[in-house]
């Protein structure tokens, strides 16, 4: 009886290991603002303007044993752009930049994830910005995952990518040093 039980337990546990890992779903923690979508644009070649999109939402599924199955979806409220300067934000929302009256929402939807085996990888996906959809690649580094102190489970990543403003139809020429936007992403998810 005892050996039978042991055998059954052993069988069950090996079966469990053999099962394909099911990725866990996470909600990006925008509620607690443990996630941010930041941008940085060179100013005249001398400095940088740093800003962010205050309002966005999204989720991802991720399993560290099967990172290739990672999926990410994010919706960004383009009107929530905030560079800590009202007059500039108004300009960024105008047709000169994001044309938010026409395109109030930007979105990202991942298509594949290439893990580099070192807790990071490349996340490919479709970014829709100013009505233009283009494939982009985000360099991802995992920060960590585990239980939080309040009974939940979290996983977090940072990501970066660079966008060429012209590619998304932004008509304004800010000068030779300022044709691209560096995106800096901080994403913390709470397991659903």
């Amino acid at each position: 009886m005892k050996t039978q039980l042991k055998a059954a337990l052993l069988l069950a546990s090996t079966m469990g290991l053999a099962l394909p890992a099911s990725a866990a779903d996470y909600t990006i923690d925008t509620r607690g603002a443990h996630a941010s979508i930041n941008f940085k644009v060179n100013h005249l070649g001398y400095s940088f303007v740093v800003g962010r999109f205050d309002t966005f939402s999204g989720d991802f599924s991720y399993d560290q044993t099967a990172p290739e199955a990672t999926k990410v979806n994010v919706k960004i409220d383009a009107t929530s752009v905030n560079s800590n300067h009202a007059e500039r934000d108004k300009h960024i929302r105008s047709d000169d930049f994001l044309a938010v009256d026409q395109f109030p929402e930007a979105s990202f939807s991942s298509t594949k994830y290439q893990a580099n085996g070192d807790d990071g990888g490349k996340l490919y996906g479709q970014l829709t910005l100013r009505g233009v959809t283009k494939e982009i690649v985000i360099d991802v580094t995992k920060v960590g995952e585990g239980k939080d102190p309040w009974g939940g489970y979290r996983a977090g990543f940072v990501g970066s990518t660079e966008l060429v403003m012209k590619d998304f139809g932004i008509p304004t020429n800010l000068g030779p040093s300022s044709t691209t936007v560096a995106m800096d992403l901080v994403i913390e998810g709470i397991k659903k």
Partner: protein, 183 residues
Amino acid sequence: MSIRNTEQGYGWVAIGLHWLVALSVFGLFGLGLFMVDLNYYSSWYQTAPMIHKSVGILLFMVMLFRLLWRGLNPHPVSPENHQQWEKTGAKVGHFLLYLILFCLMISGYLISTADGRAISVFEWFEIPATVTGINQQEELAGDVHEILAWTLIALVAGHGLAALKHHFIDKDSTLVRMLKPTK
């Protein structure tokens, strides 16, 4: 020198204020249209908005004084040939000119101070922010500012045409008494 208004016509102060405000309104309107389309590398990119905001603040102060002066002076009676509908139209029109001009200046102030920054008047003194942080305040105030600017210019055109009509068609003193005090 007739500084003050009389029952018959405007004094120099009222006339001066009228034309000062008229000149400022046209200047601000033109400068406003010009500055929103400037290239980032234009030498005017910083100065045009600075002048627009500074003159706007000064105009607000001038308008406060104008209201005060108006209250402290007799209001000239309309020329005798004016019809009742003309008198009523003029009253409503003048009221709207004042109202829209004030709303226009306040909305402009609310754009630039939406993030709590003060408005510097020719780097001479600063007007601090008061109302800030309304959701998308600069957008809302900006839309209001643009609509009111065009509305004001339309009203001003009507105001000017009415004055010309009085001068050339009715051949009365309406326009002339805003050019020099009536003897």
